[in-house]
Symmetry: C2
Subunit: 255 residues, 2 copies
DNA sequence: CTTTTCGAAACTTTCGAAAAAATGTTTACA
DNA sequence: TGTAAACATTTTTTCGAAAGTTTCGAAAAG
């Protein structure tokens, strides 16, 4: 039947031939969009650590209402990307080397745990996505400090997609959930490293990809552990101002 | 100085003699209170798994506005205690044996990790709080199915406080954070077990307390691992309707 | 008798204004 | 000159209503 081609008689001009309500899978709710954008801005340090998040400014920047912003901020607090003190509004979560060390230690466990499980449950589709996402990542060489922001952002996205693809077939939802949260946290530090890093690292992702595709659990887990630890060391030595003390000193206003 | 007693002269009737703004430490924001109450209601299955959370009913139950409810619900989604699908509102997160098994496996790691670290960094104050919270817990014997709800709730609180006290001196904020989230998740299953359990377990908490106070890392970790695993087994065998399949069957649309 | 279409009711989402609280500044007084 | 209260401003928190979706059920078409 040519059911699909049918149009409703009343369709004049306002809604440009949209599909029927049931066919539309709305993943584009305003709240989600604002949340996504804010998260990205924190991850990429557009909103800087410890920065105060005033509703006035945010309302302008994201062109939305207070209520929606509150909801998004509330989410970010749960994710550990923002802080709030009742009556005193929201701030971007602080960063510190101590925090990076702590979350990286836990990441080592969660990444190896999920990766090992994913390899054991790997499928053809899983392998295909790994090949595909690695290809996309390799098209962009690791960004250098003077690369434009757009390139850094795109690399960040592809980097995340690649790492996500590795563990996609892991059968533990909770492990995947926490892994994902920690990966996002780490992205803030990766961004700082990208901006400041002088040294260049060899392509660890290729080795990782091959070990995973070869279903070598021990090798793959060893590689990702080293990958995480190396990243911390690089950040510790090359990102200026990333000290063990929390960055709360700057909390004082203007003066 | 008697600063606290001072009152502002201009206070007529509208604001009933509040203390100076700086002295008041507001931890009682409405949003937090609503969030706390909703979380408790989900944990204690007053709001049942998969139950639809309509704003109309919630507004009545918690006596607050839609916006505030939305913010609280948003938080609960981040914590994994609720679900939402854009345009279709919120539901209480489903439960299943598979979920309990999954989260318990991760709990074993996080509880042992945090406990080992806490023991190594234990202080006198830490020991004191363990003694104190164990004492309070032991005053209430493990609730039986026919005990009143109030007793079960109180026992749940003391149980949480005891377990929190064990790991209080752990130095890894991220581990503590995730441990706490998983502990809350497990509480939903503990509640179901309390309601249905026929068998009684011997007091595993006393052994745990003593092992921890004796700073015996291996023994303590072994005990808590067994504690978690036994809890899962008890739930699996004694809670009716806790199957491997998720309870999503009823979700299908009209026909 | 089944399937589709339409419209009303229920519910969710979004918004901006009013209330409450915190911060900053000035003024009064010793 | 220092202290603290009173005032003014900024910012956060809370609320309810308007706009937009989805769901449900009845009527029409196949």
């Amino acid at each position: 039947m040519a059911k699909i081609l049918k149009m409703r008689p009343g369709d004049n001009d306002r809604s440009a031939a949209t599909t029927a309500p049931q066919d539309v899978l709305r993943e584009d709710a305003v709240t989600f969009d604002v949340l996504r954008r804010m998260r990205e801005d924190i991850l990429c340090c557009v909103l800087k650590p410890d920065q105060r998040l005033r509703f006035g400014e945010l309302r302008q920047r994201y062109d939305t209402s207070v209520g929606t912003l509150r909801e998004a901020l509330s989410h970010l607090v749960s994710e550990g990307l923002a802080r709030t003190e009742a009556g005193r509004g929201f701030t971007v979560a602080p960063i510190s080397l101590a925090d990076f060390l702590d979350l990286s230690e836990l990441r080592v466990y969660l990444e190896t745990r999920t990766l090992a499980d994913a390899i054991r449950h790997g499928t053809d589709a899983w392998e295909a996505e790994i090949v595909s996402s690695y290809f996309l990542l390799s098209k962009l060489s690791a960004p250098r400090p003077d690369d434009p922001v757009g390139v850094k952002r795109e690399w960040g996205k592809r980097h995340k997609r690649f790492h996500d693809s590795l563990v996609a077939t892991c059968t533990s939802p909770w492990s995947l959930h926490f892994r994902s949260e920690l990966f996002d946290q780490a992205r803030r530090y990766h961004w700082l490293t990208m901006i400041h890093a002088r040294s260049r690292r060899r392509n660890e992702h290729l080795d990782l990809r091959d070990a995973v595709l070869a279903r070598d659990v021990d090798l793959a887990c060893g590689l990702i552990e080293k990958h995480i630890r190396t990243t911390v060391e690089q950040a510790a030595s090359e990102v200026p101002g990333l000290t063990m003390e929390t960055a709360r000193g700057a909390r004082r206003r203007k003066g």
